[in-house]
Symmetry: C2
Subunit: 310 residues, 2 copies
């Protein structure tokens, strides 16, 4: 009978569960509907029931949960979450601990992903910055092997660092944020605005919904507009990353999230741009890499979160 | 016989020495010429002799040194310093340890100042960002009570975060850096370019060299050009600080350095601007304050540096 950790990645629609062994392998997984309207007690009960179903008599040593929003990491309280409407100051750590009787930790999803990349990504560094490129642009910082949370548990908000002084409005309430320029919605809106009627992109958009994946496909097939959109996004991300490098001096920058699947289409322009915003330093150790863990980073990070916050 | 720590702040022209007691009080101090051309051995010998002269039979428990430039903090090696031409890979920690026989640490000056503010400023926080406004614009980060150094010992380079994508050239080799806009030289150049012939500022500049202090005096006496220069600098610093807040979520931001002596002339515009670049967060703990320690921060920080790096 082996011992596993449980990692849970709670989204607005579904919650992903994974049982993780000591080597960072997900040995069993499940997906359950979040049903946020039924409240946190219901979710805790269903996580418990689903874990019993999949754990095959293995002991659970610790539990971690990643959730978008403002989390009190020390107390394990979900202060508020954009994905979980109506959840306010939910003591999720306490609730899960009462049900399972093992150490529990709750963390902001982007921080949890960064922790997962650090613990299980095998990048060989103690200084890692990870950001997720998707509908939102999140970030998480590990410095000297420690997850940086900040005074209000709000560190790592890379998507809401400033690119322009009077820039595009951002859903967060500020203007000129990186996310307003390179979030998935912005990329799609740019494509819709710019694609000529006869382009490859327009033909693709006729038969399927325009998504970053479709945009990446068009770029790989040679569509100039799509290529330009990724190049511009990479330039902007590189500029914002320059500030991260100047302030935090990471050794490895990990790119995660849906848009990172575009691979070198987005990573190469980021690398090129970053050079222009990073002070020359002889022998600087710095590399920008696509995530090795991809979608698993959240569950893996959650599964080992109690080690630092339990 | 009491026990003191020795803090040394090495500049290009002079080195400041201070003996610091357990309460963070500088009980004795001295200034010696750096004489960088005579090499590090000479400086170490003269620091030793001067310490003997001022320490009045008190035991020295630890020594710390702050120097501008690229420092290997773990090994205590001065890789290179803009102030100490020709010094290359100087094992200053080892040299001082051999001479004094006590724990020694060597740090980058801006990091050392931030550490001093954290340890002795009494701001009541574990999450502090400190920046110095002078000829250069430096920065240092304390997160959760730990000094953030980064993978290449190059963290905290606030002055070389990016304000503009194709901005003013900066001495560091990049373009658009904060320092290129708000460093002392830029403020003076702006004043010279903009001051009308009949202004208070022009009259002041006739009788004395135009410095940030003169500029501050003119602003306090109502000179509109001088006031505008501080207001613009504050707006830009606030924008750059927004990125610091979004990434690191500090509780206290300490403003140090010569230009900080302009007080509210510069601090108020910084506070106002920062609001526009910081995500609203109910109950966010964040304040921007002028340094309580001023010029003493470097010596104080150095005096206790060996506690974390010794």
């Amino acid at each position: 009978m082996s011992v596993e950790s449980l990692g849970v990645d709670v989204g607005g629609t579904n919650a992903q569960l994974g049982l993780v062994d000591g080597q960072g392998k997900i040995v069993a997984g499940a997906r359950i509907p979040t049903l946020m309207g039924e409240g946190p007690e219901s979710l805790v009960e269903r996580i418990f029931a689903e874990t019993l179903r999949i754990n095959n008599h293995r002991d659970i040593s610790q539990i971690g949960v990643g959730i978008a929003g403002l989390i009190d990491h020390r107390k394990g309280i979900v202060r508020s979450s954009p994905n979980l409407v109506g959840w306010k100051d939910v003591p999720l750590k306490e609730m899960l601990h009462e049900r399972f009787g093992v150490p529990v930790a709750v963390g902001n999803d982007a921080n949890v992903i960064a922790w997962g990349e650090y613990r299980f990504g095998g990048y060989g560094t103690e200084h890692l910055f990870c950001f997720t490129l998707g509908t939102g642009v999140g970030g998480g910082i590990v410095s000297d092997g420690r997850l940086i949370l900040g005074a209000n548990d709000a560190a790592g908000e890379f998507g809401h660092t400033s690119l322009e002084s009077h820039g595009l409005e951002c859903p967060c309430g500020l203007a000129g944020c990186l996310e307003a320029y390179v979030g998935a919605k912005s990329l799609i809106a740019m494509a819709e605005r710019r694609a000529p009627l006869t382009s490859r992109l327009t033909r693709l958009a006729c038969t399927e919904e325009l998504t970053p994946q479709v945009l990446a496909q068009a770029a790989k097939e040679g569509d100039k507009v799509a290529q330009r959109i990724f190049a511009e996004a990479g330039e902007r991300i590189g500029r914002a990353l320059g500030n991260v490098v100047q302030l935090l001096d990471p050794e490895v920058i990990v790119v995660n999230g849906g848009i990172s699947k575009a691979g070198d289409l987005i990573i190469e322009p980021i690398r090129e741009s970053l050079k222009h915003y990073t002070m020359p330093l002889s022998g600087r150790r710095l590399r920008v890499v696509r995530s090795k863990l991809g979608d698993r980073a959240g569950i893996l990070g959650a599964s080992s979160l109690a080690e630092i916050l339990g």
